[in-house]
Symmetry: C2
Subunit: 252 residues, 2 copies
């Protein structure tokens, strides 16, 4: 059984949307904060990773959202590395309230050599302390046929990368991809639907002066997304939605 870390977080007013639910980017931030804390507690934190010229990257994420935490909810975030081989690891997160698992997240991590920008072998001591199941092959989180195909885009929206989108790793913080994909769907769709599951595959880093294009295809309650910079696909996403019953009325 992998080493589990738990921490608590109270959803702040400024982390919530108009429905008083935590926003998707903040849900990701809060979850990743728990993994940062676990790594620090095991002396394999950011500073140690950076000092070896390495950096973690996320290749894929999958989310199952049973219920979104709300403003003032104090949630427990539980995280552990479920399985790993020499190059890949899968980290699990659970966001829990009163023993109910509200959100389950899996992320496929790999380690980057910061100079060559290539994937590199994970040092044994990084893995050993996390006590994951050693596996020969780490499977992808999503099937390739989940991704968007073709040029039949319903809508294209541009987002200029903002200065504050860049984090201490000097590239766009992972959480912004969640905003670019969903925001493109527009207020009416977002106010009337809630995401129940989402898979994201990250293909290319996005930098500080990039403008990204967010485009989507919609088929009833399934949306497929691409985030591109020029001709390069930065990320693909697939989201399953549910109709929302409790819809806010906006001031226009």
């Amino acid at each position: 059984m992998a080493k589990t870390f738990t921490t608590e977080h109270t959803i702040q007013y400024y982390e919530a949307d108009v429905k008083q639910h935590v926003t998707l980017p903040m849900l990701i931030n809060i979850s990743l904060e728990a993994s940062t804390q676990q790594a620090a507690s095991l002396h394999i934190g950011e500073e140690e990773v950076h000092s070896r010229g390495l950096g973690w990257i996320i290749l894929e994420s999958s989310l199952d959202i049973h219920e979104m935490p709300r403003v003032h909810d104090t949630v427990t975030v539980k995280t552990w590395v479920e399985e790993a081989n020499s190059f890949f690891s899968i980290r699990h997160f659970q966001v829990i309230k009163d023993d109910d698992v509200m959100v389950e997240i899996k992320m496929l991590f790999a380690l980057l050599d910061m100079v060559s920008r290539k994937l590199t072998r994970i040092p044994d001591d990084f893995i050993e302390v996390l006590e994951p199941k050693a596996v020969k092959r780490v499977k992808r989180l999503a099937n390739n046929d989940m991704w968007a195909e073709g040029d039949d885009w319903d809508h294209v929206t541009e987002y200029a990368v903002r200065y504050n989108d860049i984090d201490t790793n000097l590239h766009v913080n992972n959480s912004h991809y969640y905003e670019w994909t969903t925001d493109a769907l527009g207020v009416d769709f977002l106010a009337n639907h809630r995401p129940v599951s989402m898979v994201v595959r990250f293909e290319h880093e996005i930098g500080v002066r990039d403008t990204v294009v967010s485009r989507y295809q919609k088929d009833e309650l399934v949306t497929k997304h691409q985030i591109c910079t020029g001709d390069t696909v930065g990320a693909q996403a697939n989201i399953v939605w549910q109709k929302e019953t409790d819809v806010p009325s906006f001031k226009m």
Copy 2:
């Protein structure tokens, strides 16, 4: 002496910029969270205000930034309402670390009737529990001559309001004005400068489907800003900057 409220906050990784400093919008969010908590502790919180058909609005803010809190800093946020009359109040905030006041913020608040959208008298019981100095006249935080004049704009940037910019009050969260003003200055300026003082005057609410234009004039280390929707000025700001010595190198 007004009733003082203190709370603690640890700056999270995702609340910080590339220099590991808390971002300006997050500094505002964290500060306002303390006032929300104080109001709730005195039973004049959001729910009470909303149940009477009222909503607080901020007319002006002024910030003095001696030093920006950094990632993992645990800061104390102290807040109190310094003075008030029947229509206006001035709330002070101090962000403190190890007895040093890092940031001082003042905000001029008024109360809106949510139906008529007009300023309304502050109920006596809202003020009494906060124990501010009763004053005949509440002064503006900034002189009118601080604001930008004329059409001599160095640069104009458009920002579409995003779904997640809208908060549980159903309009754009105050903190986003700080991002729209500063972000327009561009990566090179922001990486090489830090804000030391800032005054913002809010003129008009911004709604969910608006596109804002952020434009600025620059005179050495002073920048003057306007946030507009169409011909309407939503906010004006005046920022004094200092050259930064510790500048990050970006991946381009």
